[in-house]
Symmetry: C2
Subunit: 347 residues, 2 copies
């Protein structure tokens, strides 16, 4: 019997399923994340994608020993299983959402997939810290925080070698820590939290607003302004520079707050906003971070993600792969030899 | 052989040593916390107080099985031991401190007391959460945060039944989380952290400033204004009300940030500012707390400390008492029958 493991990555936009055996990633299947129909539609899609992937490499789905699921969250515990209550997936949670595609208030993802497979499920940043701890920039480090700086802000953490879970498995939802007394509103409804002040979405929103205000009536359309526009114009546009500097300062103060709580050894920063602009952002963040209470900030390292582009493939899998694979995988890094993704065709 | 345990509580102002046997607290000795001389003066004082207490009840100090130490912190790891690097004790850490009594930058408390006794040492709020978990408002709760709202702000936490330590045992130093983009300066040097915005010291500072500003030239001296003055005048003075409402709002937003990180089940709030004014503060805090992201704030309880006035005696001890005492102590609560404290006389 071959030993296969599936990694499932459920994002707000796309969902990916990859199948690994000891040697390599055998296949990866991608599809838009389904948001229509009953609230079991997405779990059904995940099962369908696993079946499709297995069929494509001619193995029976029963040969999958374990399924690791990496998903946007939060979760809520519902008897034996956790349901997904992410505003990115469940439009029913967002009062008066424009272009709502569904009325879901929860998704029974864990329970549904568990009907056919053994499942481990975690928030996508929690699975990322597990992968970085196993294979990436966190090897051998027992006090470790992964932070993604992307469209949103999220994280995963080990303290004293213990992977933080919390009562519903929602620790550490660090994008929703307040770092301003007031300030812009977050997708979660909070005013002035880390995500509302520093995410790619926040940078784009601020830069768009500044452009519209300063260039009133110039006839141009700024509605498509994105965070990367601000980064591109950092050296030439003082509005862009001021917005990015403020975001970097607040991001660093967010790290200082997280460190005050967790007394960590190392921050690993990933996510598209940071990774694309890390030559600019890392020095800004480091300079601000060490201005906070030296007795706590001293001895903390801030480093970029090592797995970065591979996290989508390896993060979910790292929840379930056998311990005796780890050493060899560490040496071989089979996720780097992944085949191209194929689109899912609904059966 | 009798089995005795010592609890040592090192505060910024006073230090207390109590000796317990299975039946009861046998004695408590109190002295001002020594801050003069070499940086071993305070550890020597603690040993002297243990000896003094043992002598007073006619037991040899060698009969002390274990010493639990509860102290203000932070700590820094120094080889096998942690040194205390608290700005409240080490004037050498505070640049240009007025009325500096010493030039200490660290205190070798753990190492020094370990020369004669088996020692467990923790921050005073970490020992408080251990005690509340064992005997107080946190019994049976594995996701639990204790927060003291007093002259300063501090905390201790269990996540998934694991007592958070961190690389130097400084988790969770929650008073030094940023919750404002700018704002007043904290004793630690941070601008806009939880302690700078909500502590008793902060409330007193804001109220004093408002009084001086609004009553300019009335010839009265406001320099002794304290937080309790503001609370006493909450119903009759709109400045007092506004300052306390703002502190309560920021305290609640601090709890929401902690909960975003730790996904806790229950907050236990203690400390003199809160306990004296909890009829006013608890509803304000609860109302604000539940306005944060419902997917995270739902299902969290906020309750007052159960051990409160006894924490000074029982918190340090709870680090070291034998497991087979716990059930009986829970029923008998021997710390409530403590004898009056006697002053330490240096030998």
């Amino acid at each position: 019997m071959g030993e296969y493991f599936a990694g499932v990555d459920v994002g707000g936009t796309a969902t990916r399923v990859s199948i690994f055996d000891y040697g390599s990633m055998r296949i990866k299947v991608t599809a838009p994340t389904g948001k229509k129909g009953q609230n079991t539609a997405l779990p059904e899609q995940v099962l369908g994608m696993i079946d499709y992937a297995c069929h494509a490499i001619s193995i029976p789905p029963d040969d999958i020993a374990n399924v690791g699921i990496s998903t946007c969250s939060p979760f809520r515990r519902n008897k034996d299983y956790r349901v997904v209550i992410s505003p990115n997936l469940c439009d029913g949670l967002v009062l008066g959402k424009e272009n709502a595609q569904n009325d879901w208030t929860e998704i029974p993802l864990e329970e549904y997939v568990s009907k056919r497979f053994r499942v481990e499920m975690g928030n996508d940043c929690v699975t990322a810290v597990v992968a970085e701890h196993m294979f990436g920039a966190g090897k051998g480090c027992d006090n470790l925080v992964y932070v993604t700086w992307s469209t949103g802000i999220g994280g995963g953490a080990y303290v004293d070698g213990h992977l933080l879970g919390g009562k519903n498995g929602n620790a550490p939802h660090l994008g929703h820590m307040y770092i301003a007394e007031d300030g812009p509103v977050c997708g979660c409804g909070n005013y002035g939290d880390l995500e509302a002040l520093t995410s790619g979405t926040a940078i784009a929103r601020e830069y768009r607003r500044e452009q519209e205000f300063h260039n009133q009536g110039d006839g141009r359309d700024y509605s498509e302004t994105c965070a990367e526009d601000a980064f591109r114009e950092y050296d030439t546009n003082c509005m862009a520079r001021s917005i990015i500097n403020r975001a970097a300062r607040n991001f660093a103060r967010g790290l200082a707050s997280i460190n005050a709580l967790l007394d960590t050894r190392r921050f690993i920063i990933g996510g598209s906003v940071f990774m694309k602009n890390r030559a600019l952002l890392l020095p800004l963040v480091i300079e601000e971070f060490y201005q906070s209470f030296p007795a706590l900030s001293g001895g903390v390292e801030i480093v970029p993600s090592a797995l970065d582009q591979y996290l989508g493939d390896i993060a979910a899998l790292s929840l379930v792969i056998p311990e005796d694979w780890v050493q060899d995988w560490e040496a071989r890094e089979p996720w780097k030899l992944a085949s191209e993704s194929i689109p899912w065709k609904r059966g």
